[in-house]
């Protein structure tokens, strides 16, 4: 299995509070992704990174920001959490463009 660790695995927070999710990889892969998974929607891309300090928006980026200061870490921040951001968040990595994604085991976030 690809070395991907997501933390925390579970988080309950209140509306309006900031939340940061962490993805850590030990594979030295260039590409890293944040997805959210909701019933009936499959996986939706939030943000992605193609190198240190190189990030771009996905299809559902509103309300989220990311940072990648080191190859191994990709952080997802919800500046002010809302109930609509209750979801399961997955980090994924891949080595080169035409290679498959390897996923972490997800973070279940509940915003009350």
């Amino acid at each position: 299995d690809a070395g991907i660790t997501q933390s925390p695995r579970h988080k309950v927070t209140e509306t309006g509070t900031p939340v940061t999710l962490r993805c850590h990889q030990t594979e030295n892969h260039r590409y890293m992704y944040w997805y959210r998974q909701d019933p009936g929607h499959g996986l939706r891309l939030i943000h992605y990174s193609y190198g240190v300090k190189d990030t771009d928006k996905g299809e559902v980026s509103d309300g989220y920001s990311v940072s990648r200061s080191k190859t191994e870490d990709f952080l997802l921040t919800l500046e002010s959490a809302t109930s609509s951001q209750t979801s399961v968040y997955f980090c994924a990595i891949k080595r080169i463009q035409n290679s498959p994604l390897h996923f972490g085991n997800g973070t279940r976030l509940t915003v009350t």
Binding site: G42, P100, L101, F103
Partner: protein, 111 residues
Amino acid sequence: TQLLEQSPQFLSIQEGENLTVYCNSSSVFSSLQWYRQEPGEGPVLLVTVVTGGEVKKLKRLTFQFGDARKDSSLHITAAQPGDTGLYLCAGEPDSNYQLIWGAGTKLIIKP
């Protein structure tokens, strides 16, 4: 906006039966990937198909890419309880590298 429609959304069958899951689009993909996801875990790649008409087999699972590279199917023969899970298809468009995901098929195989 490119879409990948996956059907059925949910399927519950008895052990030993056969089933087929479909992924359809009006867009062309350079490749199509199938993933399987178990509860509490991330999706895991099963197979990638890249050539129109390509058929790949993984034990009792048969994957096919349509001739026009717009659709794909997953056929499971003699399903077993261990096949239970969420099956996701994802297409890689010709124009860019971000995957387009189907909504998933939740499969339950009853013993």
